[in-house]
Every structure is written in structure tokens, then in C-alpha cells.
């Protein structure tokens, strides 16, 4: 008989208990039933009233808890994103983590001069192509809010088109209202080869935000309803950052953010039962000195780890998260420390769709070098999360015996076991420098920022993004020209 295999413990972090999870969930339900929320979309208001919500003057809505439970029942747990060629590259199930970039930074760290300057469309192309060429960056967001789009009302359509032209990976996109999202959907359908295929194998997910506390603007609801009806995956965090849009204490901030998310989920399922909805508020903190929303704080990592626990305990829906970003203004030690902190904790708590990789300056500046570094930090974290497989091969008793009894000159480095296993057994860094001092000095004494800069430039030159067919590019131009 074959001996039993020893299962490998893959380290996984828990940060809250079941009672805490239930108490936060109950508080969220209480917010919706007792306090209520402000809904500014007339059609949604009508639908909520029809479903059993109490609607009072000024669009104030109180939602009974059973509607939430219904929506949690009908929302799918098995959400997957596909790449633009129809391959399932992001199954957001079983605690699978996927990292990707962020959206709409005002500034870019210039790759040539290192200076912070206003983002332009050509930056977007670079970010998308870099993402396409990096193994551990699974999806693409714009990273830039370009100043040079021809028509500002259509900024997100131009941004989407630019991403489509420069990557084949899944795209998380932003839209402004029901108007531009329809154009984006049109472009996406062209790329996928038809609406049906797009719905079957979605390569895109919409990121929208309501306004904390508890305010749901009309244009945001237009997007939510559009995505629900068209079965485009969507997430709807609202910026319930502790001390800003929500209470200063993390439990209250989570309860409020979850309440807001649940409102989105209920509406979403009313307009498109069974359509995919990614769960998750963004609960960072408002910095008590600068009033920026922090992208390097431990709190955001902690609340999203707690949300991952709540997913496992209660909700079952894949979650939206962040990592690989920093409040530092340049890619310095702070940037490295903060980005690794969120990358490893997001991995260990099994967050699913993890965005904002590559941000500096609390999300206001994007950096190609930061993304390139994060690609390696994700690999490092993934190695760690794999745990230590224990079996005959890895215990290597044969190798030990061979080397120990092999006489003089016998070393592990020479043994076949090393040659056969070293690629898997070790994490082999590419950018994290372990070279000896002299060779580091001889090759230019480059710090991590410089090495990442060089690597990003190399990828942008060497990596070939499979281009879209000419007729599709032409049709995209037609949509842009309208």
C-alpha cells in the first residue's frame, strides 16, 4: 500500500473570531434597518420600495434585514475573470489571491527623470504593457488619470480603450455614469467577440464608489444597475475610511462600510439576480495630521483581513482588497516596507482581488518601478504562503546519507537531489539583490529603485503584447469618435 501523504499546512492568517464577525454583521443590518440611507436614483428608489424597503421623504430608505439575506443567497460565490482571449486566469474562489494595479492617479513618477509629473495617456499605455509583461500582476487598472484626453466627459472610455490596446489581461475599469459605461461595454463586447461571450467569460470588472456615510448618488447607481443587467462583475466600496467617511474606530468603520456594500448588493441582485458582485468596503484610515487616506497604514490591511474572515464565516462572496501601495513620495525604504506589509498580509488572509499595486503618495502618484518591485514581493509572499511540504523527497534522507557517507569532496551542492529540486525548493529572487559586495559595486551599485527602473524599461522594450486585430481597433476608434 502507498503510504498516506502528509498534508501541507499553507499558512493562513485569522484576525477576528466568529462572534466579532457576527456582531459587525448585525451592526450593519441595524444601520440599514434603523438609520437608513440616502438614495438619489428614482428608479432604484422605486425598486427598493417595491421590494419592501421603507422610503420616506428626500429619498431616505430603511432596509429590512431579510432583503440582505436574500441577496446574499442569490449572489454567486464562484466569480471568475477571464483574460481578453477567453482564458480563465482569475478564479476568485478558494481564497485565491490575485494582485493588480490601481486607478486614476493624478501624477506619475517619470521613468526617465524620476520626477513626479501630471499623468498622460501614454503613461497608461506603459502601465498596461508592463502589467501584461509581469507574471504576478494578474489584472490591469488605469494607474493614471490622463490630463490629455480629447473629451473630458469620455475620459474613462479613452482610458479603457488605451488599456485594451496595451494588455490582454483582465481589466478593472472606472466609469462616470450610465452613458460612458455603455460605450465601454460596447468596446469590451467588440474585444470579446460579442455580448454573449463577454457575459460568459467576462474580462472586466467595474469599480464604483458610493459616498460614505450612506449616500448613493444617481450616476453611481446607473453604473450598478447597468452592470447588474449586463452581468458585468462589479464592486462598490464607498470609502468608509475610519475618521473620514466613517467612525474613527475600526469596528464601526467596518460595520458602516459593510452596510453600504450590502445596500449595493441588494440593489444589484434586484436588478440582476445572480449577477456577480465582489464584496468589500475599503476601510483605511484618514490620517489625523494630513487628512489623507492612508495607503500604507496597518489598519487597512487589518480590516481587509477581517473581511476575509467574515467572507469565510458569513458571506461566501469573493472580496475586494488592496496591497502594494505606500504613502511615501519616492520609492524609498518606507515604500518598500509599507508595500510588503500589505502584500504579505493580503496573501496570508487570502484576499481575492487585490488592487492598488504600484501606488506612491497615498494613491496620488503611480510608479512603474513600484509595480515591478511588487511583482517580486508577491512572488516572495506566495512562496511563504506555500508552507513546507513534508514528504520523502523533501525530507531527503537519501541525500543526507549520500553526502555524509560520500567521503571527502562530497557536498550537497554537488548532489543530484539539489540539482533536481533547487528551483522549487528555494525562492529565487530576481531584483532583490543578494550579490556579493564587489560584484554589486561593479555592476553599478544600483539600489532597488534603480534596478526596478531598469527592469521596467527592459520589459517595456522587450515584452510583446499580442495586438488586437485591425478591424477591432478600427471599430474602437469609431466608438471613441462618436
Amino acid at each position: 500500500m502507498k503510504p498516506m501523504e502528509i498534508p501541507t499546512l499553507q499558512p493562513r492568517m485569522k484576525v477576528i473570531g466568529r462572534e466579532q464577525a457576527l456582531a459587525i454583521h448585525t451592526a450593519a443590518l441595524e444601520i440599514l434597518e434603523k438609520t437608513g440611507f440616502k438614495m438619489e436614483h428614482p428608479g432604484v428608489l422605486e425598486a427598493l420600495a417595491g421590494a419592501g424597503c421603507k422610503v420616506s421623504e428626500g429619498g431616505w430608505v430603511r432596509m429590512p434585514a431579510y432583503l440582505v439575506e436574500d441577496a446574499l443567497q442569490s449572489a454567486p460565490r464562484q466569480i471568475a475573470l477571464y483574460d481578453q482571449k477567453g482564458n480563465k486566469t482569475m478564479p476568485l474562489t478558494n481564497g485565491n489571491p490575485f494582485y493588480g494595479t490601481g486607478s486614476d492617479a493624478t501624477f506619475t513618477l517619470d521613468m526617465e527623470t524620476g520626477e513626479r509629473r501630471r499623468s498622460v495617456l501614454s503613461d497608461l499605455a506603459n502601465y498596461a504593457r508592463l502589467v501584461d509583461g509581469l507574471e504576478n500582476i494578474s489584472f490591469c487598472m488605469s494607474m493614471a488619470n490622463p490630463v490629455d484626453v480629447p473629451v473630458i466627459e469620455d475620459i474613462y472610455v479613452y482610458v479603457f480603450a488605451e488599456m485594451v490596446k496595451n494588455t490582454n489581461k483582465p481589466i478593472v475599469f472606472i466609469a462616470d455614469s450610465g452613458k460612458d459605461i455603455a460605450k465601454i461595454y460596447e468596446i469590451a463586447s467588440l474585444v470579446a467577440g460579442g455580448e454573449d461571450i463577454l457575459q460568459q467569460k467576462p474580462f472586466l470588472l467595474n469599480y464604483s464608489e458610493a459616498i460614505s456615510p450612506l449616500r448613493f448618488p444617481e450616476n453611481v447607481m446607473e453604473r450598478l444597475v447597468f452592470c447588474a443587467e449586463k452581468k458585468i462583475p462589479i464592486c462598490l466600496p464607498s470609502g468608509s475610511n475610519a475618521g473620514g467617511g466613517s467612525p474613527i474606530t475600526l469596528a464601526g468603520a467596518m460595520a458602516l462600510g459593510i452596510a453600504e456594500n450590502l445596500v449595493g448588493l441588494v440593489i444589484h441582485q434586484l436588478f440582476g439576480k445572480g449577477s456577480p458582485f465582489l464584496f468589500g468596503p475599503n476601510v483605511s484610515v484618514l490620517d489625523m495630521k494630513s487628512t489623507v487616506v492612508s495607503y500604507g497604514c496597518p489598519e487597512w490591511s487589518l480590516t481587509q483581513a477581517a473581511l476575509a474572515d467574515m467572507r469565510d464565516e458569513l458571506y461566501g462572496l469573493p472580496i475586494w482588497a488592496f496591497a502594494g501601495a505606500s504613502d511615501a513620495k519616492v520609492m524609498d525604504a518606507q515604500a518598500g516596507a509599507e508595500s510588503m506589509f500589505s502584500i504579505i498580509t493580503a496573501m496570508l488572509s487570502r484576499c481575492n482581488l487585490i488592487h492598488d499595486v504600484g501606488f506612491l503618495e497615498y494613491g496620488s502618484t503611480s510608479s512603474l518601478e513600484m509595480i515591478t518591485m511588487a511583482n517580486e514581493l508577491v512572488a516572495m509572499s506566495r512562496f511563504f504562503a506555500g508552507g513546507i511540504p513534508v514528504n520523502e523527497k523533501t525530507l531527503a534522507l537519501d541525500a543526507i546519507e549520500r553526502v555524509v557517507t560520500g567521503g571527502s569532496g562530497s557536498i550537497f551542492l554537488m548532489d543530484d537531489h539539489t540539482f533536481e529540486n533547487f528551483m522549487e525548493a528555494q525562492f529565487l529572487p530576481n531584483l532583490l539583490d543578494r550579490s556579493r559586495y564587489d560584484s554589486w559595486e561593479q555592476s553599478g551599485a544600483m539600489d532597488m529603485y534603480k534596478r526596478c527602473n531598469k527592469e521596467a524599461k527592459r520589459i517595456l522594450v522587450e515584452h510583446r503584447v499580442e495586438p488586437k486585430p485591425d478591424h477591432i481597433l478600427k471599430e474602437i476608434e469609431t466608438v471613441l469618435g462618436r
Binding site: D104, T106, E153, D176, P217, I248, M288
Partner: protein, 212 residues
């Protein structure tokens, strides 16, 4: 001013109860109203502002001081006589058309009020015409506009255009801010000042009015 020492200290500490009691005391003692405001309350807030800009205190502490000052002002207001008290300046403030975000705008309002300015807050989603009308109505010195979305930033330009059309652009200073707003954008639309955060909004306001 030594006669306001206890008052300024309690405002700096954000001790509402003590500050209100001290205000009552100086009112009862017959102190000059303008002096209570300038040498007591505003001087305390200047001190708070300075501590904040040096990173010695946090936002909630500063806002608590501003709230304390407001409570004291409530007590003083009934004693105002026409022409006796002069405000530093009037600011009409709002989040621009199409934008519903107000945390930043509210923070700026509170800080400006704490610094002794009169604030007329128009709320969110404020149309260019509404800004224009309020400036005409109140004779405000400054318009403060906020935007969180790059898609609503053009409304800042439209508001400035509306001021021009109404023939009052040269009568009022324009200050803008918000996450996607930059100094260059402010120059491009010919705003008079750009404030990246609430603290600098106070500094810019003082500069625009020639107070510093």
C-alpha cells in the same frame, strides 16, 4: 493679553465647559467685544493653527478647539452691536456641480471659521449660477471650490466663466482644492489660489486678503 489667558488656554485645550465659563467671566467684567474675539478667541486659534502646522497636534484636537470657539461665539453674539465687530473676511464655499463629496470642503469651512472668517457654505453639487448669486448677495471676498472627481473639475472653470459673465470676477478671489486638483490646473483656469489641504486653505485665504 493676560486678562484672556484662561480663555485662550481653555480654547487651545478644547475644554468647552471651561472656555464658555471664561467667556462669561470676561463678558461680565465688561471687556471690549472686539478684544475678546481678537485677543482671546482668534489669538487662541492662531496658536492652535501654528501647533497644527508644526505637527504638534492632530486634526481632531484642532477641530475641537474650533468647536470650542464656536460655543464661545454663541455667547458673545447677542452682545454684538452694528459696526462694533469686524469680521476678517467672507468666504462662500461649496463642492462644485456634479460632485457630492463634502468631507474636505467641510474641513476647510471649519478651519476658516476657526481662523475668524465668516463662512457661507453652499453645500455640495453647487451650480456656477448659485456661486455667482451668493457672491452678489453677500459681497463675499473669496469663493472656495472643492472637487474630488476629475470629471467634475471642469465645473470650476465654468464657475469662473460665470463670474466673468456676471461682471464680478475682479470683485472676488477664487480658491480651489480637492484630490485631483493641481497648482497647474489652478493657473490654467486662472484661479487666484490653490490649496492642497485645509491648513493651506487658511494660509491662502489670509494671503488673498492681505492679512499675512
Amino acid at each position: 493679553m493676560t486678562e484672556f489667558k484662561a480663555l485662550t488656554e481653555s480654547v487651545i485645550k478644547g475644554d468647552i465647559k471651561a472656555a464658555v465659563a471664561e467667556t462669561q467671566k470676561v463678558l461680565d467684567a465688561g471687556q471690549n467685544i472686539q478684544s475678546i474675539i481678537d485677543d482671546g478667541l482668534i489669538s487662541a486659534m492662531d496658536d492652535v493653527g501654528e501647533r497644527f502646522s508644526k505637527g504638534q497636534i492632530f486634526v481632531p484636537q484642532m477641530l475641537r478647539s474650533a468647536k470650542t470657539m464656536q460655543e464661545c461665539m454663541k455667547l458673545i453674539q447677542p452682545h454684538f452691536k452694528e459696526g462694533e465687530v469686524t469680521a476678517k473676511g467672507k468666504v462662500v464655499i461649496g463642492t462644485v456641480k456634479g460632485d457630492l463629496h463634502d468631507i474636505g470642503k467641510n474641513l476647510v469651512s471649519m478651519m476658516l471659521e476657526g481662523a475668524g472668517f465668516t463662512i457661507i457654505d453652499l453645500g455640495v453639487d453647487v451650480a456656477p449660477a448659485a456661486f455667482v448669486q451668493k457672491v452678489k448677495e453677500t459681497g463675499a471676498d473669496i469663493i472656495g471650490m472643492s472637487a474630488l472627481l476629475s470629471t467634475t473639475m471642469p465645473a470650476m472653470r465654468q464657475t469662473i466663466d460665470a463670474l466673468k459673465e456676471a461682471g464680478i470676477r475682479d470683485k472676488v478671489k477664487v480658491m480651489i482644492g480637492g484630490a485631483p486638483v493641481t497648482d497647474n490646473f489652478a493657473k490654467e483656469i486662472k484661479a487666484d489660489a490653490y490649496a492642497p489641504d485645509a491648513g493651506s486653505a487658511v494660509i491662502q485665504t489670509k494671503k488673498l486678503l492681505g492679512l499675512s
